[in-house]
């Protein structure tokens, strides 16, 4: 069985630093000579252990429905508007770039398909993930982190309630749900933005735009987009929760944890995106081939 809660943070016990000042020294977990890189491995292991715990506890009753709805609403409300606003210029930039490139070798008729595929497959899930992690994940991390240093999570555990099941699971599920739905919104808005800029600004023809789109795009492109959004949402939620549950002592530690959670999420997102894209291109044949 995996551990329910990641091991205590390296900053020592979460107790009152004034009272237990002597005990809050750096933790090296017993090793006399710490092997370089071991800390990294340990963190990664704890992160995976938390994701397994979350996955298992999703199915544990009672499901915290109220918490889920509240978090879902909160994350959606802080991400919808920025996502829509970001996706219009993003779709436009791709359309302009692709449009000017294709124009150079006389393939303007394929601008529509290329730019829409780029928006749906790559730009949309990434925009969603960045916003979710920046707006939702940082809030989750700060919330859990301040609960941790105020001993609220300890109190919850003492009362026999698992903070992972009570707080983390609904948050991670809410992030995933919002990511999937938001991905749909961003895809539509981004595509419309691209269309607008290509047709109105660059003088493309609507018919060519649409026909190249239906010639190149297929339904699995939409599936992979949503699958990516789902996985990115999971990563953003888990990393935020993990850093929030393990702040390094004190309010400053919570601030650092929020910062790290966003950075770590970004790094993981782009890495995972490469892998998913590679797998997709390998598995799903291009349309018409």
């Amino acid at each position: 069985m995996t551990t329910l809660i990641p091991p205590p943070p390296p900053g020592g016990p979460p107790g009152d630093p004034a009272d237990d000042g002597e005990t809050t020294t750096r933790k090296q977990t017993g090793e006399r000579r710490p092997v370089p890189g071991l800390g990294w491995l340990r963190q990664t292991g704890a992160l995976f252990s938390l994701s397994l715990s979350v996955l298992r506890m999703i199915f544990k009753r009672p499901f915290q429905f109220r918490e889920f709805i509240e978090q879902f609403w909160f994350i959606a409300s802080v991400t919808i508007l920025p996502a829509a606003l970001v996706s219009i210029p993003f779709g436009a930039v791709i359309a302009l770039q692709v449009g000017s490139l294709t124009e150079q070798f006389g393939a303007q008729s394929f601008t529509g398909g290329a730019s829409v595929l780029a928006v749906i497959q790559q730009a949309s899930p990434l925009i969603v993930a960045l916003l979710i992690s920046g707006a939702g994940g940082s809030a989750i991390c700060a919330d859990l982190g301040s609960r941790k240093i105020r001993e609220e999570l300890d109190a919850m555990e003492v009362m026999g309630v698992s903070p992972v099941q009570r707080l983390v699971v609904p948050r991670v599920l809410a992030v995933m749900g919002v990511a999937v739905l938001l991905n749909g919104l961003v895809s539509v808005v981004g595509t419309l933005g691209g269309y607008f800029f290509n047709v109105i600004m660059q003088g493309g023809t609507p018919g060519a735009y649409l026909s190249s789109f239906s010639a190149l795009a297929q339904l699995p492109d939409l599936y992979i987009s949503e699958i990516k959004a789902l996985i990115f949402g999971f990563i953003a939620g888990i990393v935020a929760a993990y850093r929030g549950l393990n702040p390094r002592g004190g309010p400053k530690g919570v601030g650092d944890a929020v910062n790290q959670s966003v950075v770590i999420t970004f790094l993981l997102l782009f890495l995972v995106n490469v892998i998913l894209t590679g797998i997709y291109l390998e598995l799903v044949p291009a349309k018409g081939s």
Partner: protein, 356 residues
């Protein structure tokens, strides 16, 4: 009746920093114990180890067949339902009102109806003198009120083991005295095993049946209250007298040069013997504490192993002898809005029914 907590060979370290080693003691079922110790000796860490929040490197904590240190998380979570832990600053959920905070364990672990929950919560809030504050958020009330709310939440599931982390810090002397009385009354009513971590000498000398002291990374002593109150151990005597002279210094321990110099000056370890203050009695109207009888049997059994002064002190409290002073009366409850426990015994059912 409460549950015995058996600690054996417990050692805790953060990295190379040893907090304490080889702590072995038994909290006798249903009795009140106090753990003393200067700041920074890991009293809070000890408390958290008992409930399994921190995992010491060596040793065991046995509670009702469950080893809180090594057993699977699932079993530890189950065993934790027997505990009520009052945190140093209450550890209330900042986003919930006091009422919801105190109702939290009931809503999580029982299938009671909202009406029943309301009755139980209001009764516990009355107990700790928080009536009228149920809709306040923890950020809107004083530290002392947060502490009392934390106690109310710890009591709401009728725990068999109650752990209090510095119940006195942030409370005025009167509230501290009332809280001491409250703790004794709670023990009378539900006969729970209690451990209070504190460095308040008043609580230490009036509330517990047993006392222990953590100092210099180990348990100096643990035993009946009389044994510690009459102890000639320099550390214990200095601490209970609140004296600057002795082995305890500002930085945990004095170096031997300073100590020798103090001894040479003649103001070293020369304490007047402390008069033993009688233990608090339950409030009028309550039955006598069940623990008193059990403890008497237990202490008489170990009498031969105790030092002379402690033996004298114990025999002085036994029937046939009278108290040197009458037990202190509870202060006027009306004016302080923190009424000593006067609970309808029918509502203090041993465990809430329908518990999940």
């Amino acid at each position: 009746m409460g549950v015995e907590v058996k600690v054996e060979g417990l050692s805790m370290a953060f990295g190379r920093q040893q907090v304490w080693e080889d702590v072995s003691l038994t909290l006798p079922a249903g009795e009140v114990s106090v753990m003393l110790g200067p700041s920074g000796t890991g009293k809070t860490v000890f408390l958290k180890s008992l409930v399994g929040l921190l995992k010491p490197q060596r040793g065991t904590v046995h509670v009702d067949g469950c080893n809180m240190v090594r057993d699977r998380e699932r079993d530890v979570f189950e065993a934790r339902k027997m505990f009520g832990l009052m945190f140093q600053d209450g550890a209330l959920f900042g986003s919930m009102t006091l009422f919801d905070n105190i109702a939290f364990p009931l809503r999580e672990h029982t299938r009671k109806k909202e009406r029943e929950i309301r009755d139980i919560v209001m009764e516990r809030m009355e107990l700790v003198g928080l009536v009228g504050a149920e809709d306040k958020l923890p950020g809107e009330i004083s530290g002392g009120m947060r502490k009392r709310a934390g106690l109310a939440r710890a009591l709401v599931l009728d725990p068999q083991i109650i752990l209090c982390d510095e119940p006195d810090s942030g409370l005025d002397p009167v509230r501290t005295a009332l809280l001491s009385q409250l703790l004794i009354d709670v023990n009378t009513q539900i006969d729970a095993t209690m451990l209070i971590v504190t460095h308040n000498i008043d609580i230490a000398s009036t509330v517990p049946d047993n006392m222990g002291m953590l100092y210099r990374r180990s348990l100096v002593t643990f035993g009946p209250r009389e044994a510690l109150l009459t102890s000639e151990e320099p550390v214990v005597a200095q601490f209970l007298n609140g004296s600057p002279h002795g082995p305890i210094g500002m930085t945990e321990e004095k170096d031997s040069a300073t100590l020798d110099a103090e001894l040479a000056m003649g103001n070293g370890l020369d304490f007047q013997t402390r008069e033993i203050v009688p233990q608090l009695e339950p409030s009028p109207g309550l039955p006598p504490r069940a623990a008193v009888h059990r403890r008497r049997e237990r202490v008489l059994g170990m009498l031969a192993t105790l030092p002379h002064a402690a033996r004298e002190a114990i025999l002085a409290t036994m029937p046939g002898h009278t108290h040197p002073t009458p037990p202190p009366a509870a202060p006027d409850a009306e004016t302080l809005a923190m009424e000593p426990l006067r609970v309808d015994p029918s509502t203090w059912s041993p465990r809430p029914e329908g518990q999940a």
